[in-house]
Symmetry: C2
C-alpha cells in the first residue's frame, strides 16, 4: 500500500499577450514506474541558466507580485521583440529548475530503484523547483554518505560547465584560457580547477572587490575591464599566458571584441612581417551566457583568424561522448567538497522565491551571490 | 647581353603620424634568377581585397591629390583607432596588387624558365601594380593560347574564393549556402558555380536592379535586405533550401545577425518541442570582407548553436592541402571564359589609378563595377 504524495511545483507561463506569469501549482505525485524513484527535493540552486526559462526574457522592471501569501503569483512583461523566438513555449506552463538534490522517498519495483530508497541523490533534468521530482534511476547520481542535499545540489551545471571549458580548450588545441565575469561561483570553481591542473587562466572582472576575491583564491592573472588601462593589462596577460580561447558569460557589448583585439595584439607583437589580414593565430571566443542581453559588438580589428560562437553544456557533452562525460562526472563527485564546492548567499522556500524582493536579489547576478531553493523548507 | 628593364611600381605608405601616402616609385628590374621570369604586367584587377592594403583603412573622405601629373601622390588620414592594428606596416612602403597577368619578357637560365618566354601567364603574390613583376616559375599559371592577359587577370582571388565557399560548405556538412553583396563580380561567379553544380544559393542584395541582374543570370533565391519583408523572404528561402552556412562580404551592421536569426527561425519551425536554448541546428556565418567597416552587431536571438568567424582564402587553401587546391586551380583554367569570366567597368593606367575621381569610383564597391589596371597602358 502506498500513500499518494502531493506538493507544489513552480511554473512559468508566457502568454500570447506577452505577459509572463510565475505561480506555484499543486502537484500529485504518481506512483513511480519500475525504473523510477521519487525524490524529495531539498536543495536546488537558482543558476543564471535557470533564469532564462523562469523569466522568459521579461523586462525585470515590470515584475509585479499579485496573488496572496498562500498562492503567490508574479507577473512581468516580455518585450515583443523576444516573443518571436519563444513561439514554442507560448501558452504552455513550464516547470523550472535544471538541477537539484534530495532524498529518495519512493522507489519503483526494480532492484536498482529499491537500492536507492533513503539515499541522497543529485539530479539533472529540469522541473526541480518542486516538492518532489520523479526521475529514472539512471538520472540519479548517488552522493557519498555524509554529503547533504545542499552540498550536492550543484553537481552538474557549474562543475561540468567549468570542466567543459578546460576540456574544450585542450581539445581545440589551446593551452590557456580567458574567462569573463570571473568572480562568479562558476568562475571561482574554474580557478580552483585551473590551479589544480596547472592551466593558466586570465580572469576578467569589473570591480576591485572581485579582483581581491580572486587574488585571495590564488588567481594569478586578473584584469579589470573598468580600469583605464584594461586593454594593456589584458594584452600583457595574453602575451604571458598565450591564451587564445575565451569563455564569455556577458555576451552583450564590446567585451568579446576587446578580448579578440588583445589576443591579436599579443599575436601581432610576435610577428616579423606585416600582413594586412592580421596574424594566423586562431582566436576563439565562446559566448555561454547572456548577463548583458544587448547585442554583441565586434569591431573586427583582429584579422580574419577568429571565431565567436555559442557554447552550451549539453551539446558539448553529447559531442565528447558518454565515457568522457562520465569521467567528468566522477571527478565532480570525488572533489565535491573541495574543487566543486558551491557557496550560497541564502536558502529560500518556493514561496519566498516568488517575493519581488528575493527576485530582485537573485536575478541581479551579483558577484558570487547565489540562492539555493529548498522546496521542502 | 641583356637590356636592364625599368618601370614604375605603385607604393602605399602609412606614416607613424597616421598619414597615408600612395605614390608611383621608379623600379629597376634585376636580372631574373635561374628559376625566375620577368613578366610585363598588362592586367591586374582592383579587388576589394586590394583596397585594404592600398588605403590602409584611411578615411576615404580625406583623400587628397598632391604631386603633379608625372609624379602623382595621393594622401589620406588613417583614423587613430586603426593604427594599433597596423604597427607592422608603419613607415614601410608597401607594394600592392594581389594578382595579375602579363607576358613573360625575360627568363632565368633554367629550362623551365626559358620555356615560358613569350607566354601569357597569370600570377598571385602581391606587388602586381607595377610595370614588371619578377616571379618564380612555380608561381606562374600558364594561360591557354588565345587567352589575353585581361581575360587571365583574375584567375585567383574571385575564382578560388567562390570555389572555396562551395568547398567549405561541403566539407563542413552543409548542403546549401547564403551569400551577401551577391550581385558583385564574385557573387555572379558564385551563381554560375552553384547553377552548374546544382547547389542551392540564397543571394542577398540591397537594390532592385541587383535582384534583376541576378534573376537574369538564372539565380533562384534572391532576397532584398532593403525590403520591409526581408526577414520573412529570407526565412522562407532558408526553409526551402536548408542553407545553414553564409558567406558575408559586408561585415559591419546587423546582416550577419539577421541571417542567423532567420536560419534559427527556419530550424525552429521544424522543432516539435520548446527549448529555451534554441534549436540544435548549427548555423555558421563566415565574414570574408568588410564592405561596411562598422562593428558587427549580433543580437544572439538564435540560440547557442552558432558561430560567426573570419574566412580568408590563403589559410583555407593551406588547410585543404596542395592536391585539393591544385584541383581547384585546374577547374578555373578549364572554365576561364565561362564560369570564371570577369567583367570590368574600365581599364586604367597606374597614373589614372592615382586620380581622385578614379579612386572615388573604384573604391566605392559599386554593384558589379570593377576596375582593371594595365600598368603598361
Amino acid at each position: 500500500m502506498s500513500n499518494a504524495l502531493s506538493g507544489l511545483q513552480l511554473r512559468s507561463l508566457v502568454k500570447k499577450s506577452g505577459e509572463l506569469e510565475i505561480s506555484l501549482q499543486p502537484m500529485n505525485v504518481a506512483e513511480p514506474a519500475a525504473d523510477e524513484v521519487v525524490v524529495r527535493v531539498e536543495a536546488t540552486p537558482i543558476n543564471p541558466s535557470d533564469l532564462g526559462l523562469l523569466f522568459g526574457l521579461a523586462d525585470m522592471n515590470t515584475v509585479k507580485a499579485t496573488g496572496n501569501a498562500t498562492n503567490p503569483v508574479v507577473t512581468a512583461i516580455v518585450p515583443e521583440k523576444f516573443l518571436r523566438g519563444m513561439a514554442a513555449r507560448i501558452d504552455q506552463s513550464m516547470p523550472v529548475g535544471n538541477e537539484g538534490a534530495g532524498v529518495v522517498v519512493k522507489a519503483g519495483s526494480s532492484p536498482e530503484a529499491q537500492a536507492l530508497l533513503g539515499k541522497t541523490v543529485a539530479m539533472l533534468g529540469g522541473a526541480m523547483y518542486a516538492t518532489y521530482r520523479t526521475v529514472k534511476v539512471a538520472q540519479c547520481l548517488v552522493l557519498p554518505s555524509g554529503t547533504t542535499p545542499a552540498e550536492g545540489a550543484s553537481c552538474f551545471v557549474n562543475p561540468l560547465t567549468s570542466l567543459g571549458m578546460v576540456e574544450t580548450m585542450r581539445r581545440e588545441g589551446h593551452t590557456a584560457l580567458v574567462h569573463t565575469a570571473a568572480a562568479s561561483n562558476l568562475g571561482q570553481m574554474l580557478n580552483r580547477i585551473c590551479i589544480k591542473d596547472g592551466v593558466n587562466l586570465v580572469n576578467i572582472v569589473r570591480k576591485p572587490e572581485q579582483e581581491k576575491l580572486l587574488r585571495e583564491l590564488g588567481a594569478k592573472y586578473i584584469c579589470n575591464s573598468s580600469a583605464p588601462d584594461f586593454m594593456e593589462q589584458l594584452t600583457k596577460a595574453l602575451s604571458e599566458t598565450g591564451a587564445t580561447i575565451a569563455f564569455d558569460a556577458i555576451g552583450g557589448g564590446k567585451l568579446a571584441s576587446q578580448i579578440l583585439t588583445c589576443m591579436e595584439a599579443a599575436a601581432a607583437a610576435k610577428m616579423t612581417e606585416f600582413s594586412r589580414y592580421g596574424s594566423n593565430t586562431f582566436k576563439q571566443v565562446y559566448i555561454y551566457g547572456g548577463l548583458d542581453r544587448g547585442p554583441t559588438e565586434l569591431t573586427r580589428s583582429f584579422g580574419f583568424a577568429w571565431s565567436v560562437s555559442g557554447w552550451l553544456l549539453t551539446p558539448f557533452l553529447q559531442k565528447i561522448g558518454g565515457p568522457a562525460a562520465q569521467k567528468m562526472r566522477e571527478r565532480v563527485v570525488a572533489e565535491l567538497k573541495t574543487t566543486f564546492a558551491s557557496h550560497y548567499t541564502k536558502v529560500i522556500s518556493l514561496h519566498e522565491a516568488l517575493q519581488p524582493d528575493a527576485i530582485a536579489s537573485y536575478a541581479k547576478f551579483g558577484t558570487g551571490e547565489k540562492y539555493l531553493l529548498n522546496p521542502n523548507k
